[in-house]
Symmetry: C2
Subunit: 249 residues, 2 copies
């Protein structure tokens, strides 16, 4: 079977590999966050919706796993569709281990994760050699409902791309403020690459004191770090990122 | 003009959006690490190679920027092609800032970064909710040729995806060993998704003591963290990742 990444939303961000896999699908197991129009790319597939959405009733993971195994063992070409890239935050690890134990071969098709689409929407790089040497993708809360180690994340010197944090923007900022400058640029992008895309540019301090109101049921990404300064500059908030033109200027 | 992400290698991992942009290109500015066959997708484009490759002579960044500006101001449809996703480690920040200052509009087309393709090749997730709550993409050395803060990166509790480190595998391991368990799983994937893809599975200790020999001129990714345990398990190195089947089992 195929574990397929649907990307951030815009179906034009599907890879050619994904389009080919969809065209050959007998069964489509579809996450709720994936554009329903994707089914038009799988004309021969029976579609089963197994979505999960923040704050809503969701299909139990164990049920999804058994469903994949059952269809696959029937010899059907099963395509499990996940938003973003299936190998980040998608619980793909559990599904792959389960299918492997059931002797079901799994082929993985990569995709574009939301934070990359968010950076494209903002017209900025996720990393800027003058400011940071990387980017960290984290979820706003850990498996055991604890908080990530904000101090260590801040000290890593990387841009932070925080997923699943739309319902707790102020507390994210509060967690980071003791470890980063209050004027650290923050960009919040919901529905990156989709028609209803929405962007907010702010700073850590302002995010804690007056967080913008978002529909927390819609997925979004919070980007934090000096690499975002260019986005605020373009929006007229701040001066250009120091050194941004260092070489190209 | 268009800043276009070519993905990790396999041209089937180009997005539909990228394919459309290539088909409409008048000029293609091509990185050396991108599959030369990509030009077949841009039949009307004049191709200019502006590659950079580890350890080899490279086109000066400032020259690339001026070239983009000149062609764009001539009204040509310029497509700047970068490997992976253009917004990570590609110096896109400088190029975007430069073009913006020259009043050249830039459209960004995302792609699949190498670490995602590496995880797909290994059949593992980059994140596993039982083990970590994220993944950090870093370069092996910082802009000023210093080392990343390995202690902070280790403490972040995220899987590490280390780029541009193929020439210094042992020193990467030496930098991380004081901060992570010696038996922390490591996967090295060179040419992920390409015909000449090569994978090595090891541990931090073994990587420092007996690093496998790679052609350092070819790009590769080093993945470090418990989330990789499943890959070693499949390869017969270790027991399954604890909790991997927790829910799906």
């Amino acid at each position: 079977m195929v574990l397929l990444s649907a990307g951030p939303g815009d179906l034009d961000l599907l890879t050619l590999k994904a389009v080919k896999a969809l065209a050959a699908a007998d069964v489509l197991l579809l996450d709720e966050l994936v554009d329903p129009q994707i089914v038009t790319l799988a004309p021969y597939a029976r579609v089963v919706r197994v979505g999960k959405r923040a704050g809503c009733r969701s299909t139990p993971q164990a049920f999804i796993c058994r469903l994949m195994r059952r269809y696959a063992l029937q010899g059907l070409n099963v395509v499990r569709v996940k938003g973003g890239d299936a190998l980040m935050f998608g619980r793909a690890g559990e599904e792959i281990a389960f299918l492997r134990a059931a002797d079901v071969g799994v082929r993985i098709v990569n995709g574009v994760s939301a934070a990359f689409a968010a950076a494209a929407a903002l017209g900025v790089s996720l990393t800027h050699r003058e400011h940071c040497h990387g980017v960290t993708f984290v979820t706003a809360h850990t498996h055991d409902h604890g908080e990530p180690d904000w101090a260590a994340l801040a000290r890593s010197g990387t841009t932070l791309a925080i997923y699943m944090g739309m319902s707790r923007l102020a507390s994210l900022a509060a967690g980071l403020l003791p470890h980063l400058r209050a004027d650290t640029p923050v960009a919040i992008v919901q529905g990156a690459s989709r028609g209803d895309e929405r962007r907010e540019l702010t700073t850590l301090q302002a995010l804690r004191d007056a967080p913008p109101v978002f529909d927390a049921r819609q997925p979004g990404v919070v980007l934090v770090g000096p690499a975002l300064a260019e986005a605020l500059h373009v929006a007229g908030h701040v001066q250009p990122a120091a050194g941004a033109m260092a070489v190209c200027g």
